[in-house]
Symmetry: C2
Subunit: 109 residues, 2 copies
């Protein structure tokens, strides 16, 4: 690779790719779904919901946080992870414009 060429692309493409990438692992999708299903924030023991160790789950949580899709609030001994509605909005917007661009054409070969 030598150099990370990712930065050579339009910033909107970079932002979009970063978000999709965050969604690109079943564990992270399951975490998000779990958040939605239980209608609550996460307090620690999500690792028992996943077939992965606590350490690994924590890593996925960190990545979702880095992507901005969830937020962590420390609450004493526990940490509460919650969805970030603002970032979900951004995702929706990005996806919408992407799919509209794609859908606009019925390509024939």
């Amino acid at each position: 690779m030598v150099l990370a060429k990712t930065t050579l692309f339009d910033s909107d493409l970079q932002e979009a790719a970063q978000l999709y990438k965050a969604l690109g692992h079943p564990a992270r999708l399951q975490i998000l779904r779990y958040l939605a299903d239980t209608k609550s924030c996460i307090t620690g023991d999500i690792s028992e919901e996943l077939p992965l160790s606590r350490t690994t789950v924590n890593q996925h949580l960190t990545e979702l946080k880095k992507a901005g899709l969830i937020q962590g609030h420390v609450n004493g001994k526990r940490t509460n992870y919650c969805l970030n509605p603002e970032k979900v909005k951004v995702l929706k917007k990005i996806y919408k414009s992407f799919i509209e661009e794609i859908e606009a054409n019925n390509l024939e070969c």
Copy 2:
């Protein structure tokens, strides 16, 4: 890693993650956008549209093909890459159910 634990997840999560993953690189997004913008199929020289070598672009094309988002048709010396509308439909469906699940709740911490 030792073992790929990806297979331990629900197949729908796996399928979704695989699609999002394919979208998780700016080069691949740009390729898809280029396909849409030019309202045509790709015949070879997309690498000139990207800040990457032909070899690398070809690799990204292969990945998009593997994900099913595009199809390649050999046409003599050239190869035509086209969007696969069926897979785009699948993506839309997957994304829709995902975002609806997420959106259903206004989580408060």
